[in-house]
Amino acid sequence: MHKTTFQSCVILVLIFTIATTTGCQQQSSPYFGTVKPQHGAQELWINNSSEPEWLDPGRCSDSTGGEIIWNTFEGLVQAHPATLKPLPAIATHWDISDDGRVYRFYLRPSFWSDGHPLTADDFVFALQRLVDPQTGSKYASNGFIFHQGLAISRGEAAVDTLGVRALDSHILEIELVDPLPYFLNFLSFYSFMPIPQHLLQNLQKRGIDQDLWTRPEHVVCNGAFRMTDWQFRQHMTFEKNTQYWDAASVKLNRVRVAMVESSTTAMNMYVAGEFDWPGGSTSLPAEFMDHLERYKDFHSHPYLGVYFYWINTTKPPLDNPLIRRALSLAIDRDSLVKHVTRGGQIGSSDLVPDGLAGYEGLHLPVYDPVEARRLLAEAGYPTGQDLPGVTLSFNTSEGHKQVAEAIQAMWQQELGITVELENQEWKVFLANAEQMNFQISRMGWIGDYADPYTFLELLTSDCGNNHSNWSSKTYDALLERANQHNDPEERLKILRKAEAFALEEQPLIPLYVYTRTQLIKPYVRGIWGNHQDRHPWKYMWIDESFDPYEESSDPVSKSRKDIQVHE
């Protein structure tokens, strides 16, 4: 009888073993999964990870909504799919005033998908609506760069005082608060797309809730694709928009976007050929990296995001900058990215990623345990043993837990400090961060535009996202001075000084710069890796002639030759 139990256990273990090991081995193909297109002619099936909150440019605040908006709407400028340099879109050209604060855009004649002509008023309407407190846009702050934007959102000024004016039906003037050198790059962001004023008025007339204007039965857009079907939490279907000004260069006929949240499920669907591209926002599980790296359809590129730990600089013992710096230096970031996150991330102690828009990174040391121990001793804790308790909180996620667990061990092994880990449910975590109810708290920050300011702003005194309780008049003044500066070179120098000043105090511990890892079927062309993870469907196409047995070059670099960008 005892035998039966034993045998069944053995069988159980065997089933597991066989099933799981066959999952990884016997892979001789250089590609991960199927290599033939399985859907209609020039039809692309992708994933967009979850149901977007809003598809309304004025209200959207998440990347899943942004992905759709970027492909269904077109702004004044568009980002080059590889370099992200601003290219003409609805605006054919523009003038900039000498002080760099006033831009005048000249619009090409173009049409909404219902044939209605698009004018400068549609932009004025959209941008006023963005900052109007009545709209309740979570991204209203993007409109604070415009003259009077902040005052309007606080209800202190009338909406029509916004520094965005239609000079005639095809000339738009934009007045900025500061001469932002990154303005044109930022302008391709989804918050700044035009909105069909005529459609919203029409819906109001018919007594339909205006909030529903992005539903497929109503929606009118001006981008490369238009939505034809939207199955809640399942998939959306898009078809080529024939009214699009650049419709001639759009190659795909149809794009089907699924909403699969689990990255493992999305990966399975990719292997089975249901997805041609599991999408830009679907990350791949860290455990699979070693395995996936072998395949030709695996790609990875740096991404404009920094993973770091906030330190609450008012709670002892971390009110002492020496201890904060010791903690930072004791982290072996190279080992962390190589063995834990595994996605080719770049270990970094800098807040601003190196090389961002011509900015030369600080290149602070990424690991120096000797100096870390010296700093800790200087702070009065030579062995680390008697340091009062420190807790590191993170929101529940496999990835955050892995990083926290590794860093906890590094602090233990290098400094002798025992840090307690605390898993928190997302909203509890956010509430604790808002109320400064933590000692160390994990955070990731994705830059909205390619400029160091998107990261450096985090440490200013009046920034609502500054969760360090650290504030410095010197720092604030440096950033203010940089923003007023019209000379880009000089401006970057001031910003660099500010970053060095802040990191000397270590109100946060930067860990690494993000990378985006993705799987792209070898027959899909026209996808470029770029650091803002923008992948316009406009340039994508299916290469029916692709032969997996032919020694082919890397599809990403091959597609580069095919680019047709109108400059």
């Binding site: 009888m1 005892h2 039966t4 139990t5 069944s8 256990c9 159980l12 273990v13 597991f16 073993t17 799981t20 090991t21 999952g23 990884c24 599980p285 455990e287 699979f288 070693d290 395995h291 072996d332 080992s335 962390l336 190589k338 063995h339 834990v340 529940t396 496999e398 837990k401 892995q402 926290a404 667990e405 590794a406 906890q408 061990a409 233990q412 092994q413 307690e420 880990l421 605390e422 898993n423 928190q424 449910e425 509890v428």
Partner: protein, 305 residues
């Protein structure tokens, strides 16, 4: 049913004599259990797992210097070998030590919580059903309400107000664990209480308390033991879920539930991280289950000795 009734009636009448003679229900049961090799070997397995969990980590630490926390990132996840019979995990930690350490926590939390839940549920269900009528309705609606409440919010609020503690963990696990047992026992007792032996006991003047504890509950032990064995694994997995909410065992401290969770995430790449923690849990369940069956059979006077 006749033989049962007679036996119980006789036993109730001559309780003291039975005690003197030393042939009580429990004595009989023990005699029967001793003959059930399956149950006995299961017991042995349970005891060995318990002993391994208690002493294993210390012995491994003493002999090879392994502990559950020291990481070796460069070594990373390695398949089972002579040095590491269960392999190593994502951080290069010996999995055997971690499984044993984790099983120690989970075994005590899971089995204890399930035991408490089974006891509360059994008594609650029996009392509710025996009394019937309004009392039963009231008590069962309380069960329904507890079933329906949004559990996650309950836990989140408890953690916020009371802070995390082992006691709260038990409370959170026990809060829902007993509900199923209560319903199952209630159903059984509804049938049992109409049977002749209960009538007989009542006519002999046995108190309600006596009837519930001496006559009804022993007769529901079969389903109770089954629900108990169903509760243990769900408690162990539930603990892992609670640790995501900040309650329960926090990393880097292992628990069987969190090891299985991590293992499931990695199973297609590092199969051993699932197979060993999962295997230990399965083994434990097998043992618990056959031991439970054995106890049930042993307590059934109708089974031949």
């Amino acid at each position: 049913m006749k033989s049962v009734q007679q036996k119980i009636v006789v036993r109730t009448k001559s309780n003291e004599i039975d005690l003197i003679a030393g042939t009580s229900l429990w004595h009989d049961a023990w005699k029967r259990l001793r003959k059930n090799t399956m149950a006995l070997s299961s017991g042995v397995i349970m005891v060995s797992i318990g002993v391994a969990c208690l002493c294993g980590p210390a012995i491994l630490g003493f002999l090879w210097g392994y502990d559950a926390h020291t990481q070796n990132l460069a070594y990373g996840p390695q398949p089972p070998s002579l040095q590491h019979p269960f392999g190593t995990d994502f951080y290069g930690r010996d999995l055997l030590v971690r499984v044993l350490t984790g099983a120690r926590v989970s075994l005590s939390v899971g089995v204890l919580a399930a035991l408490v839940a089974a006891s509360i549920g059994t008594i609650y269900g029996a009392v509710s059903s025996y009394n019937g009528g309004l009392v039963d309705s009231f008590m069962m609606r309380i069960v329904d309400i507890l079933y329906a409440l949004p559990y996650m919010f309950l836990v989140i609020i408890l953690v916020t107000i009371l802070g995390k503690s082992l006691l709260l963990l038990f409370l959170a696990l026990g809060a829902v664990g007993w509900l199923l047992t209560a319903r199952v026992v209630r159903g059984q007792v509804m049938s049992l209480k109409e049977q002749d032996f209960v009538l007989a006991a009542r006519s002999l003047g046995t108190t309600s308390r006596g009837i519930i504890f001496r006559h009804l509950i022993p007769n529901t032990l079969g389903p109770v033991i089954v629900t108990f064995t169903l509760t243990v694994p769900s408690m162990i997995l539930q603990e892992a879920f609670l640790s995501f909410l900040g309650l329960g065992v926090q990393p880097p401290q292992p628990s069987l539930g969190s090891l299985i969770n991590d293992g499931a995430n990695q199973m297609l790449v590092f199969w051993w991280t699932l197979v060993f923690p999962g295997g230990i849990m399965a083994l434990m369940l097998f043992a618990l289950n056959f031991l439970g069956d054995g106890i049930r059979d042993a307590l059934d006077p109708r089974m031949k000795i």
